[in-house]
């Protein structure tokens, strides 16, 4: 495949359809700029700023746009909040739809057949694959991203973080916690 892709790029560059420097720019942006640290800032702000949290849950596109953390406008973005009663899990059973403007490119498992097939049929079993066991009575709500709406999970704020500032909280927000296959990190014992 590497040779085949190299040949394809050469053909397209020779025809003037692609500029290799533009391709370099796209790769570099995904490796260094666009990633889950953007979503983590949104979550940490929602944890520390109640009016922002309300705005995010009411209209995530407008709230994230106003925060100015993403490259573009994040259209059709919906934030779904984890609570003591409901846990949210995001999947795309048909392909790999993902809020990549906030989380970067999806991990391999998100695009894989095991996740896409089972997340809707056996969500608790999938969570168990991630080492996550929720109380049986907690609703698990699976959001299958079948159109251009993109879902960001707002995870529960970990206990023991009262008074933490936004930057410290953002460091606890994992990519998986914003997909729903994980929880936010608990603070190390010494930091509480």
């Amino acid at each position: 495949m590497p040779q085949r892709v190299r040949a394809l790029e050469a053909i397209l560059a020779q025809k003037g359809y692609v500029d290799p420097a533009a391709l370099d720019g796209i790769v570099a942006a995904h490796e260094h700029e666009v990633g889950p640290q953007i979503g983590a800032r949104v979550v940490a702000r929602a944890w520390t700023d109640p009016p922002f949290r309300r705005a995010l849950l009411a209209d995530a596109t407008a709230a994230v746009d106003a925060l100015g953390v993403a490259r573009g406008a994040c259209p059709h973005l919906i934030a779904v909040e984890n609570t003591a009663r409901r846990h949210n899990l995001v999947v795309c059973t048909l392909c790999s739809c993902y809020p990549w403007d906030l989380l970067g490119l999806p991990p391999e498992w998100y695009k894989s057949a095991p996740y896409r097939s089972r997340a809707v049929l056996d969500p608790r079993g999938v969570l168990a694959d991630f080492g996550l066991a929720l109380p049986a009575e907690r609703e698990v709500r699976v959001w299958d991203s079948t159109a251009e709406v993109r879902y960001l999970v707002l995870p529960l704020r970990p206990a023991g973080t009262a008074g933490w500032d936004e930057a410290a909280l953002a460091a606890l927000v994992t990519r998986d916690s914003m997909i729903g296959t994980g929880l936010a990190r608990r603070p190390p014992d010494g930091a509480r």
Partner: protein, 218 residues
């Protein structure tokens, strides 16, 4: 189409295997494939929905046996051939043998920002929304041989309209070259038991985003 891409509810693929400290790309060619697809998508030669359909149209055994970015590479070759931008002889030779037809636009290094943000697919509604939040609906039992975003596991099942998401470009129409034909989009929530039967987790619910032509009153 009832393709193998429509994976929701299938058994037999084994456990999910998260990879600790996963790199953004596992090999440099994966990054080039992503960038090539994004750059060609920017030219306007085809639409997002056409591109998705082209992955679904890969032979089933090829789809299942290929990695994610292998599928993207195969899809790109097929689209380039279909739209007459590259010839099979050129793919075989590994170099351009002739000039190709002009494209509406091409991506320059200075314009990379344009492909790093998602675009809006919302359009002015041609009519009022047929359904409102709280209404009971049934996903129609549709089996179009062409691109659709109604997963098989939801077809024929009864759910509740939870939200109206606006009027969006209709993938089923765009992918067949029939234009955008914007349609109302709804989040429809189904109980686990409605989808999977009595043995399903009673505390699980699943929602899809369904276009109005997928739904009927229930």
């Amino acid at each position: 189409m009832n393709g193998v891409h429509d994976l929701g509810g299938l058994h037999g693929f084994g456990p999910v295997e998260p990879e600790p400290d996963e790199p953004v790309f596992h090999a440099p060619w994966e990054g080039r494939v992503l960038a090539l697809n994004r750059a060609l998508g920017f030219t306007g030669a085809w639409t997002l929905d056409t591109a998705r359909a082209a992955i679904e149209e890969l032979p089933a055994r090829v789809y299942l046996a290929s990695s994610y970015y292998e599928r993207w590479a195969l899809r790109l070759e097929r689209l380039l051939l279909r739209y007459g931008l590259v010839g099979a002889d050129e793919l075989a030779a590994g170099r351009a043998l002739r000039a190709g037809p002009p494209l509406p636009r091409t991506l320059t290094a200075g314009g990379v920002g344009a492909v790093l943000a998602r675009g809006s697919v919302e359009r002015p509604p041609p009519a009022a929304a047929r359904f409102g939040p709280g209404e009971r609906v049934r996903a129609k039992n549709l089996h179009p041989p062409t691109h659709t975003r109604l997963p098989r596991y939801a077809r024929g099942r009864r759910g509740l309209i939870e939200a109206v998401r606006g009027c969006h470009v209709f993938p089923d129409a765009v992918a067949t070259g029939a234009g955008e034909q914007p349609q109302w989009l709804y989040t429809v929530v189904f109980s686990g038991r409605e989808l999977w039967g009595e043995d399903a987790d009673p505390a699980a619910t699943v929602s899809i985003d369904a276009f109005e032509p997928y739904l009927e009153p229930a």
